[in-house]
Structure formats: C-alpha cells, structure tokens
C-alpha cells in the first residue's frame, strides 16, 4: 500500500500495533497536512492504554487539528526525586561529584564494590558513575564502615546526591 494515502484501516493497524506492543509508548507521523500522534498513557492501576489523540481523530475529519502538547506522558524517572532516608549527623556521606548513572558493581552481575559492614579506606572505589559514556570510579574519600547504600543500581543521580553512608570506622591498628 502506498504511504501517501494512509487509510483508516492503516491507522487502525498502527493503533493495534502500538496497543499490543509493550515497547512503544509514542508514535507520531506527519503525511502532508495530516499529523497522527498516538501516546500510551500510564493509568492509575499501572496498566497502559492507548488513546488516539485529537490529531489522530482529525485524520478522519479534515482539517487537521494541532497536535496536543506533551503533558500526560509516561512518567520519565525523576532524577531529582528526594531519597527518603536518614542518617546520623556524625555519619560520613559519600555524594555524587557529578550527574550520571550510578553503578554499584564493575560489571552487570558482578559483586558490588562494597558491602554493608565493610571497612573502606579513602581510596577504596565504592561505585561508578557513568556520564556521557565515561565511567568514573568514585572513591570513599574517607575511612569508614559502609552503613547503607541510598541509590538503586542503574539509576540517575544529580551532582551532590547522597550515594553511600559510612559510619566511623574503628581506629586502624
């Protein structure tokens, strides 16, 4: 079928494809003056629905309407979401020196750099932060005992975000 005369059947087929696919959440196609825009919305119970937008409906009754603004998109994960954790005032907090993706282990599936209860030295690598394809090894900076890890593996952290909490270590022998 020729691409320049998209039929109602074609549109239905695209809607079906988006609906049946776990992978695609958005679709936009502009053919001449007609613009089709499909978005899958995250609903309260977590299941996803496909809702043809006003622009899609306009295909059936020209003239086309303007595409709606992106407001009800799938929630992208929020890197600035506060970490709901507390720690003692005397604890040592290792913070992200840069924005990026936090990794607890050197490789997927490998044991983490540090475990709860482990004594770390200032130059012990405690995690990796990947930013723009560059892997940055993050060191403890101080001596201490790992008390908690505040961030999930693979999540995005902002500069200054608390990553790992250390308790004061017993004096070295």
């Amino acid at each position: 079928m020729a691409h320049d005369n998209l039929t109602y059947d074609d549109l239905l087929r695209i809607v079906e494809l988006i609906k049946s696919s776990e992978q695609f959440s958005e679709f936009r196609l502009k053919i001449g003056e007609i613009e089709v825009e499909l978005r899958r919305r995250q609903v309260a119970d977590g299941s996803r629905i496909v809702a043809p937008t006003a622009a899609a409906e306009a295909l059936l009754s020209a003239p086309p309407a303007a595409a709606p603004e992106a407001s009800d998109l799938i929630p992208a994960h929020d890197p600035t979401a506060p970490v709901a954790t507390t720690w003692a005032s005397e604890a040592i907090v290792i913070r992200a020196p840069m924005v990026g993706t936090f990794y607890r282990a050197p490789d997927p599936g490998a044991p983490p750099f540090v475990k709860i209860g482990q004594v770390v030295e200032p130059d012990t690598i405690v995690c990796i932060i990947e930013v723009m394809k560059l892997m940055n090894s993050i060191r403890a900076g101080e001596r201490g005992v790992v008390a908690q890890t505040l961030v999930d593996d693979g999540s995005m952290v902002e500069t200054g975000a608390p990553l790992i909490v250390l308790d004061a270590a017993p004096a070295s022998s």
Binding site: H3, D10, I14, L17, I18, S21, Q23, F24, S25, E26, F27, R28, L29, K30, I31, A70, L73, I74, A76, H77, M98, V99, G100, T101, P106, D107, E130, V131, M132, K133, L134, M135, G154, M156
Partner: protein
C-alpha cells in the same frame, strides 16, 4: 554484485544527536521521508522536531533503546519504513542487526551484513587486510579471551601495547598498557567499556606505536565500482577520541597517498564492500610507512571534511547505493579541492580534564560566513542529556588552502558561543593558535603529552 533498483520511500533514523539531523537532511533532499526513533531522553530533540514522524523506542539508557535491534525493526514496521539508517555507533556496525534488517525486507543503509561481520570485527579485519597485501600493526591474530592470554600476547609483541575492543570504534574500549603488572586492571576497564558501548566485551592486543599520525581513507562502493575520496588526518586526539580532523593530511605526500588509497580499495575488493566506509591507518610520517588499523563500516563523525573538499554528499550517496543506484561519478572525477578542517565541539570542560558537562543550553550563537558549515542538534533551551556521548556540534571550515581554512576556523570559533554548559571551544582556540599545529607538526599523543602539559 548489483542490487535491483528499489526506490526508498521512508527511512527510520535509528540514531540520535547531530547525525540523526544529518540523515534527516539527506533524506529530505532526496524526497524521502524520515521517521525518527528516539528514547524518552530525546523526546524534545531537534531530530524529533525536524523528522516527518517519530516513534519512542524506550527508556534513556541506550542498552534499552538505541542498541535494541529487534525494537528498531519493530519500530520500522510500525512506521511503515522501508529502510533503516543506523548512523554511527549504536547498531551501525552490528552485523546481526544488518542481517535482521535484510531478513525483514528492510533496507539497511550501510554495507551487507557479511562485510560488516568481516570488517566490523577488528581481528577478522586485520586478517582480511593482510590477505589483501596491506601491512598491519604487530598484534594478536584474534581476540584474547582473558587478561592472562592478553598478557601472553603482549609479552610476545613487546610493551607498550594497546588493548582494543574487537567490536570497537570511536576509541571506546581502548587502553594503552605499559607493562604486565597494569595489564589486568586495564583489561577489565577496557572490557567493561566495550561491553557497555557495543554489547561485546571482546578485546585484542596490538603494538602501541608512538609519534605516529592517524590517517584514514574514505571509500564509497556501489557494488560495481570502488572509489576513494582521499584521506582525513585525525591525529588531534585525546585518549583515542578524535577532536579535530582535516583533509588533505599535512603529512602525506602524493606517493604515500596513492599507496594508501590503493590499499584501502584492495581491502574493499577483498570483502565485496558496498556503501560508505573508512579505512584507518597509522602513518609514521618520518618513513612514510603505514599500517592498517581497522575499518569503520559506517558513516564517520568527520565525514563533512571529505564532503567539503570533494563536493560529494556521503550520506546521500549511502542512501542512493541502498536504493540500488550506481555512483554517478568515477575515480578520475574525484578531486580534493582546497582544505577543510573539522572541530568537534563537545560538552566537556577542557579546564577540568575534559569532564563531561551535560545540562541546559541557555544561550547559543552559531558562526557563519564564507566557508563555514555547522552540523549540530543544539537549540536554545535544549537539555543535553547525560546518557549519551558529549558531541554537541561539528564546526567545519573550508579554505582554498590550509592557512585559509585555519584562519576561517579561528574566526568561526571566536564567533561561536554556547552558554549553560562547558564546551571544548576554548581547547580548539588554543589548538588553532599553537605553532606546532599550524605547522602540521603533531602526532596522536600531541594533545595529552605536549599541548595540555603546560596549562
């Protein structure tokens, strides 16, 4: 081998950033629609705004979006695209993906899967080059499975050695190793980086040569004719990442150029190459000796330099060849006219060891005027995401000779302003003012060992 003519109607752009914009521009000029595949982090990107359509393919990490071949093919089907342009990086040198496109009757805009498999794998490529009678750097014949095997190979070759990703490109998954003690740690680093960047952690070992230049030959093949478009000198690098490229090379005389171009064409013939590709060589400028390093079976970041001196639109040529067209010119008609230089503007802070600097572009002033071209996906207010590489703009200057190209580049750099993030603009200004660069007297370690030494 000639493919039947098959006009393309709609291309899925399976990449992001400036190269996605470049592909959309080429498609539009050819009257072909472009559908942009994008991750959630690139929803508000120039490519999405410019494309005829767009489809969200997943969350920000490229392992869950731009690297997922099955997703891209599904996206192409959903968008009724009859071709996929992979750009550079991501899926561009993945032969399984190229094969899956062929199997799905979607034209892969690049070489046949077989050629990618042969040349995309750096160890096989070295064998193919040797078979074509082209000199290669001393190194391991195949992949080294672990640090112990790498150490054995390195001992035979002699330190310093270079660990390189077999699936590599763009300097990712590459480490210089000075001795056996530091090899295991470097091996782990390189393997991890290669796994993350290419989904393949395989490494090989080759001799690390000092005070050499990086010179590459652009090739273009339509299935019948194999042409070269001259060389690019990419010796201005930092940690194996190219920063500046130029054509012609200030270090190549006509005799060496002819031998290098001939070698590139021979390797292409050996693997029945088709589409655009680049043969990378190490050049010892003192002796004129050169060694095949690797082939990139895709469009290069620095392709505009060649476009500027030859007048050939390489991305359009890729699309035309994918449509089964023959190249409309011969080797004799290819001339290198004048001189072109490209500066890669990255969101990095050269004053802080080139630390990546993602963030929002709060102000933007682009240069223009005679001889200036800019390939960029930036706009005012754009948020440069932290998930992908740091290239934000390519500034290309053309002049009748190298001096004029440098003068124009220097002038354009002074006009250009990017606010809100750190960029490599100050680095380029410093480089362009350096007497050694101006004299063309540099090597691949120049930036690290000499230019950045005296801060």
């Amino acid at each position: 081998m000639t493919t039947a003519r098959r006009p393309l109607r709609r291309i899925l752009v399976a990449n992001r950033g400036e190269i996605a914009v470049r592909i959309i521009r080429a498609s539009r000029e050819l009257g072909i629609e472009a559908i942009q595949a994008y991750s959630e982090a690139d929803r508000d990107s120039l490519a999405v705004h410019l494309a005829d359509g767009s489809i969200c393919i997943g969350p920000p990490p490229s392992s869950q979006s731009y690297l997922k071949g099955d997703l891209m093919i599904d996206a192409a089907r959903a968008a009724k695209a009859d071709a996929i342009h992979p750009g550079y990086g991501f899926l561009s040198e993945n032969s399984a993906f190229a094969q899956a496109c062929e199997d799905a009757n979607i034209a892969f805009i690049g070489p046949p899967a077989r050629a990618i498999a042969l040349m995309g794998d750096k160890t096989t490529a070295r064998r193919m080059a040797a078979k074509a009678g082209v000199p290669i750097t001393p190194g391991s014949l195949g992949t080294v499975s672990d640090a112990k095997t790498a150490r054995e190979a390195a001992a035979l070759i002699g330190y310093p050695v270079l660990l390189k990703a077999t699936a590599g490109g763009g300097g990712r998954g590459m480490r210089v190793v000075r001795n056996g003690e530091e090899l295991p740690a470097r091996f782990a680093d390189a393997a991890r980086e290669a796994q993350g960047a290419f989904g393949d952690g395989g490494l090989y070992v080759e001799k690390f040569l000092a005070r050499v230049r990086h010179v590459e030959i652009q090739v273009l093949c339509d299935g019948r004719t194999i042409l070269h478009l001259g060389e690019r000198d990419c010796s201005v690098q930092r940690r194996n990442q190219k920063l500046v490229e130029e054509s012609p090379s200030p270090a190549l005389d006509d005799a060496v150029r002819a031998r290098m171009c001939d070698a590139a064409v021979r390797v292409c013939r050996e693997v029945d190459y088709r589409s655009a590709g680049t043969m990378e060589f190490i050049l010892d400028p003192a002796s004129g000796a050169f060694y095949f390093m690797e082939m990139n079976t895709r469009v290069q970041v620095e392709h505009p330099v060649t476009e500027a001196v030859t007048g050939v639109d390489i991305v359009k040529a890729q699309i035309r060849v994918a449509q089964g067209e023959l190249l409309p010119f011969t080797q004799d008609s290819v001339r290198l006219n004048g001189h072109a230089i490209e500066c890669r503007i990255n969101a990095e802070d050269p004053a802080r060891d080139f630390t990546p600097s993602p963030g929002q572009v709060r102000g933007l002033r682009l240069p223009g005027g005679p001889g200036i071209r800019i390939d960029s996906h930036l706009f005012e207010g754009y948020r440069i995401p932290p998930y992908y590489d740091s290239l934000i703009a390519k500034l290309i200057a053309w002049g009748r000779d190298r001096d004029e190209a440098i003068a124009r580049m220097r002038r354009a750099l002074s006009e250009m302003r990017i606010e809100g993030v750190h960029t490599t603009l100050p680095f380029h200004t410093r480089l362009l003012d350096d007497a050694r660069f101006r004299a063309g007297d540099i090597h691949t370690r120049f930036v690290e060992d000499e230019l950045m030494e005296v801060a």
